[in-house]
Amino acid sequence: MTNNAVRIAPRRNFIQPKPGDSWESIATRELAGTPLEDAVNMLKSWNLYVAFRPVGAITPTDVIFIEPPRAG
């Protein structure tokens, strides 16, 4: 994300991957405190469009949600 004076709460919390990120590294960073395997599975379930991509890799431009869809 760019630096910006305006802060608007996202509709759903997300990050963009850092160089070399994997599901494990994102889970460790963003879902600290959750067992790694559970955290990776949660992340994948919230980001099916990446997890089920035919050529599977996370790209640097991806949006990765770090919470489940919100109701409504």
């Binding site: 910006n4 509709r11 050529v55």
Partner: protein
């Protein structure tokens, strides 16, 4: 004073969206010199009583990059009233590009924009590497104005070579990309395009998708230096993803003082709330100083398919996709093989809908029959299968086999087809008209006629837009967003890009196939209805009675900044 052209007694819709009035437009030296009551004489006087005169329409989302090399009129866009086009969208332009990457870029371009290889190869004579050289290569033959965007994927390839497809850029490479972008903007690029979704011919992300956020940020800083725009393709099928992308674009817009636009904003049964959610997000970000403008196309999605090559219709049918990739004789054998046919039949019964589309293959109809299936033209696969007592998959296969696979089928209104709902979105001031894709998908569906369709469906039909508002959305709204200088308004000093049309008749014609691509290729187009005359920089480029003229007064249009 003697003028070159006076259009008299017209209903003047000046592009501002304000009330129209009866009056005249005077032109001299390719520029508008007077609007209102114009006295004096002119070399040519056109009586436009009962007709609208408006600024030429602007199409901000095309892929005419290749066609412009062999057709400087960008047919048939001109006859639909369009006098300025923006090619180079979705991270893909044809420059800057080194000779060693032509094959790679060509394959990527053809895959994403669905261009036939024979036509692409036969029509393109590569005479350029830099963006300026590309502009020079097309400039002389233009009958339509061109505001070309430069693709982010091209800039990456130019600086990083093959590594652009593999990895993130170093800081030095990002700096080099900034300089390459500056050079393109100085040479005539109107802005930069990107993509967050496209995959190439090898199913790899296009180079732009391998850019870290700091790379896009650095390139947007350059766009800010020039007052240029960023266009991008987001994940348009999911509301959460789209809102995240709107937020990212809003941050870039505020930080660098740039306009951003994304395409498409697309309505479908798969995500019926999406457009409303996205619009609310855009309103919120606009209220906080960002400029993020979605492009919505006016027409529903129609698709054609045949069995000669992989097409988007088969995106979620892997066995059909693989079959279309086979060499011709092997394909014929496979399509006759009972075991293979059983697999294809099973797959079509249980296939997953492509994102945002509602496809029922029984509704497909014979659209472009071969010699042996002429008698089936227009009939649905449902009818043919019932008549033959076979499965719909077998009907598709057998009718194709009877004509050596040359038969083409059509599917209509697969998505973005709730016109009552779309009418309200198109009337929203924050939603732009665009995403038409002119020059692309040429054998899959016609990407032309969206301008006429806007008037027939939404001005005359749903009545959610006035003629003045529709003209505004096709002219000044786009010129202002894209920073296109001196166009989009009927105003003294502005370029004399003019369209004269009948507001009661303007429309798109039926989809037809024409054999006008290089290498005897065909494509689907639509002819215009109700467009009387089109002028580009003061010269008549098209008239309903005379067709296209010899005028080649199109220009590479500069930025307003």
């Amino acid at each position: 004073m003697s003028l070159d052209l006076i259009i008299r007694n017209a209903r003047v819709c000046d592009g501002s969206g304000g009330p129209s009035f009866t009056g005249d437009v005077g032109v001299r030296g390719g520029r508008i010199v007077a609007v209102g009551e114009v006295s004096g004489d002119a070399a040519e006087v056109v009586d436009a009583k009962g007709l609208v005169v408006a600024p030429g329409f602007i199409d901000p989302h095309t892929h005419y990059d290749a066609q412009l090399v062999w057709d400087g009129l960008a047919q048939p866009s001109l006859e639909h009233g369009i006098t300025t086009i923006v090619p180079g969208n979705c991270s893909l332009s044809l420059a800057p590009l080194r000779a060693e990457h032509r094959e790679l870029l060509g394959a990527t371009f053809r895959k994403i924009e669905e261009m036939p290889k024979n036509a692409f190869d036969a029509g393109l004579t590569w005479k350029w590497e830099t963006f300026g050289e590309y502009v020079d290569a097309i400039r002389g033959g233009l009958g339509i104005n061109v505001a070309p965007a430069v693709g982010h994927s091209l800039i990456r390839l130019w600086v990083m070579g093959d590594d652009a497809r593999e990895r993130a850029a170093t800081d030095d490479e990002i700096a080099a990309m900034q300089e390459a972008l500056r050079e393109c903007l100085r040479a005539g690029a109107i802005g930069m395009s990107g993509s967050w979704v496209d995959i190439d011919h090898e199913n790899r992300p296009v180079p732009a998708r391998l850019a870290e956020p700091k790379e896009l940020d650095a390139l947007c800083a350059v766009l800010g230096e020039f007052g240029a725009i960023l266009q991008i393709v987001p994940e348009f099928w999911d509301a959460d993803l789209l809102c995240a992308r709107i937020d990212i674009l809003a941050d870039l817009s505020r930080k660098h003082g740039i306009s951003t636009t994304f395409s498409p904003l697309f309505d479908s049964n798969a995500a019926p709330e999406l457009c409303g959610i996205a619009l609310e997000r855009i309103k919120l970000q606009t209220a906080h100083g960002a400029r993020v403008v979605p492009q919505m196309q006016t027409r529903p999605i129609d698709l054609s398919f045949d069995l000669t090559a992989p097409m988007s219709t088969f995106a979620t049918l892997p066995s059909w996709w693989a079959t279309t990739l086979m060499p011709h004789d092997q394909k014929l054998a496979a399509l006759r093989d009972p075991e293979h046919r059983a697999k294809l039949k099973a797959e079509i019964e249980h296939f997953m809908m492509p994102i945002g589309l509602q496809i029922d293959f029984a509704d497909a109809f014979v659209k472009r029959p071969g010699p042996n299936s002429k008698h089936l033209e227009g009939r649905t696969i449902r009818d043919i299968a019932a008549e033959r007592g076979c499965h719909i998959a077998e009907a598709i296969i057998d009718v194709a086999l009877e004509d050596d696979l040359q038969t083409s089928y059509g599917l209509e209104a697969l998505g973005h087809n709730d016109t009552a709902k779309i009418a309200n979105f198109l009337a929203e001031p924050l939603i732009g008209i665009g995403a038409g894709d002119g020059g692309a998908h040429v054998t899959n569906f016609s990407t032309y006629g969206d301008t006429g369709y806007l008037f027939s469906q939404y001005v005359r039909g749903h009545k959610t837009l006035s003629v003045e508002q529709a003209v505004h959305k096709l002219t000044w709204d786009i010129a202002n967003l894209w920073g296109i200088k001196d166009r989009g308004l009927l105003k003294p000093g502005y370029a004399a890009d003019l369209v004269i049309f009948d507001p009661a008749a303007i429309d798109r014609g039926p989809e037809i196939s024409v054999d006008d691509l290089p290498a005897d290729g065909f494509r689907y187009i639509r002819r215009a209805a109700g467009i009387e005359q089109v002028f580009v920089n003061g010269r008549r480029a098209y008239s309903r009675d005379g067709g296209y003229t010899e005028a080649r007064t199109g220009a590479i249009v500069p930025m307003a900044a």
